[in-house]
Symmetry: C2
Subunit: 148 residues, 2 copies
DNA sequence: CCACGGAGTTTGGTACACCAAACACTGCGA
DNA sequence: TCGCAGTGTTTGGTGTACCAAACTCCGTGG
């Protein structure tokens, strides 16, 4: 089975953005990717070349990019990981959404699949009712945060 | 109070290594730091200059480095964060120690303090008896991983 | 006392991620 | 059909993190 491609953090960010833009708009334009990631258009062009070389995106100059099949597979793994992490931070650690998102963005690239799977199992185990309630109150929602 | 210094990932790694070496050996020699972090000695020299400029380590050429007071404070924050994370991965997600450590190393730099605090609260809440047992079995130690 | 070898540093070079400005393409309206 | 505005690309340059090799320092044995 084709082993996991090994992308670095920034490549994963681009792939993730492209995946989302394709889902939203049907295709990912260079400028949109740049806007979403907060980088310069020229930087995106470079990244697109690299991803195309790896066979993950279909890139042709001056037109919107789409993912290859392989790119789509890899990207959805990345999105899943991001999502799991975000949900964990928000729903289990009870962090405000923005903070959960920001932290998810920063740490998502460092997680092995095993960890993500474990996190999923964990989320499922506290998904409904009982168990979750149980510590929602031993743990308190809004409580002891001072904003110094 | 002097706000959190804002180090990048690699600076934090160096600081952490120095902290540990000082704890173990009384001082951190360039070559030891290099060995521990798996980088070249010359790279460490550069990093030590940077940390010295920031007032975090006491560096003088050809002799072992130690932390300044400020460096020690910052470093112990970093170590705490690493530790909390490691414990969470190992004791809550029940990952094998090596995997927990590796993942902690990779994600530790991206965590805001709030998250660490939350994680600590979480660890405390499941620290002893009851609550922990409770899902140790709804979650099972070695069990349900299919590697599809 | 001095030279020799191991520890540490400097120097020059690579790779990456990025930006800014100059340049190129393209589709729409006059 | 032609030009222009907007979108995209190229080019040149920055900062960071790193390595390898040349060089420097310094304690120890002869």
């Amino acid at each position: 089975m084709a082993r996991q491609v090994k992308l670095n953090a920034s490549a994963e960010d681009y792939l993730e953005a492209i995946f989302q833009l394709v889902a939203e708009d049907g295709a990912a334009r260079t400028g949109e990717i740049a806007r979403r990631l907060g980088v310069h258009k020229s930087t995106v062009t470079g990244a697109l070349h690299a991803l195309a070389d790896k066979g993950l995106v279909e890139y042709s100059p001056y037109s919107a990019s789409v993912l290859t099949d392989r790119g789509r597979r890899v990207a959805s793994e990345i999105v899943r990981r991001h999502d799991v992490l975000h949900r964990f931070l928000k729903d289990v650690l009870l962090l405000p959404d923005g903070l959960a998102e920001a932290n998810a963005c920063r740490i998502e690239h460092g997680l092995d699949r095993e960890v993500v799977d474990r996190l999923v199992a964990f989320l499922e185990s506290v998904a409904d009712g009982e168990a979750r309630e149980q510590w929602r109150d031993r743990f308190r929602p809004g409580g002891g945060k001072r904003a110094d």
